[in-house]
Amino acid sequence: MTCRQVRDYLRRSGADIAHLDNLPADVGAHLRSCTGCLSQRRVVWLMRMGSGSETGVPPPGFEERLRERLAAHPDIVSDDPTVSIFAGLARPALAAASLVLALSLAAFLSARAGVFSGGGPDLSLLASTDRHADTIFDDWGAEP
């Protein structure tokens, strides 16, 4: 095993790293021969010993006590603070923008369908006007 693999193991495994004999044979063998990784084991062990447990859960009544504290802070609007479901996504702003774009496209296509079927207002003049007023379209249309 490489030093990087052993150090990743020490960080992520959650194993009892105080006892070399309890570790996988290749990890134990590496640690016995590598002073750098042995030293890193000491650091991770210290971090674990000196920090709280990773399995802690909030004690019962956490929400009620939080509500009481919120009530004592009138500057915080606590009635029903909400946040969009998009916030949980990796690129929330992009997701929201995509939805708006999709809805706009759907509305545009519906309007165009109305034009071609003759069942809606005639937007061709408006579209034509937009085209000629938009310098980007003009550039696209220019021949090299």
């Binding site: 960080r11 992520r12 105080a18 006892h19 070399l20 004999d21 030293s39 890193q40 084991r41 000491r42 650091v43 991770v44 062990w45 210290l46 971090m47 674990r48 010993m49 000196g50 920090s51 709280g52 447990s53 990773e54 802690g56 859960v57 909030p58 004690p59 956490f62 929400e63 006590r65 939080l66 504290r69 919120l70 802070h73 500057d75 915080i76 609007v77 606590s78 029903d80 603070p81 909400t82 946040v83 969009s84 479901i85 998009f86 916030a87 949980g88 996504l89 990796a90 929330p92 702003a93 929201a96």
Partner: protein, 169 residues
């Protein structure tokens, strides 16, 4: 707002994550709860300014990280009474790492010693090391939570690990 998270949803979804992180720095459950609640107060206070340009998890964990760091700094100015001397129990660490089984009192002493050593680290170094080595976040994620860069996080972690090694060399 359809599809929105309410107060209850927000707390239910994030309370374990926030409490666990606070518990890493403040092992007494009542201390961890106090800090976790402070985090949610800040979240609710800042929610109107959340622009959605970062995932909500990163935004909340950034507030949690800053709150823990501030609390560590505040407590450092007011050291806990009766904190044991670091050197007195140092041999316990050697014994534990040599594979010796510690009894309950020895294990308590070793935990207290380890906590005392961690308290000697600068708050920001300790936060970075905890997020990397105990919580398993990547350097890029830690950079996002601490408002730093990936390179700075790596340098800080390297420095903190060296400092810890020196303390127990």
């Amino acid at each position: 707002m359809p599809g929105a998270l309410s107060f209850d949803d927000l707390v239910a979804r994030w309370k374990v994550r926030v409490f666990r992180l606070a518990g890493r720095f403040f092992p007494r459950p009542e201390d961890a709860e106090d800090v976790a609640q402070e985090v949610f107060l800040k979240v609710f206070r800042s929610l109107p300014s959340y622009r959605g340009d970062a995932p909500l998890e990163h935004w909340i964990l950034r507030i949690a990280t800053t709150t823990c760091q501030d609390e560590l700094r505040r407590r450092r100015r007011r050291p806990a009474p009766g904190a044991p001397g670091a050197v007195s129990a140092e041999s316990l660490i050697e014994q534990a790492l040599a594979g010796k089984a510690l009894d309950a009192a020895e294990a308590d002493a070793a935990r207290t010693l380890a906590a005392t050593l961690l308290d000697r680290l600068p708050e920001r170094d300790r936060v970075v090391l905890t997020l990397l080595d105990l919580e398993g976040f990547s350097a890029a994620e830690v950079a996002a939570f601490t408002g730093s860069t990936r390179a700075a996080v790596k340098v800080r972690a390297l420095r903190a690990r060296r400092a810890l090694r020196r303390m127990v060399a």
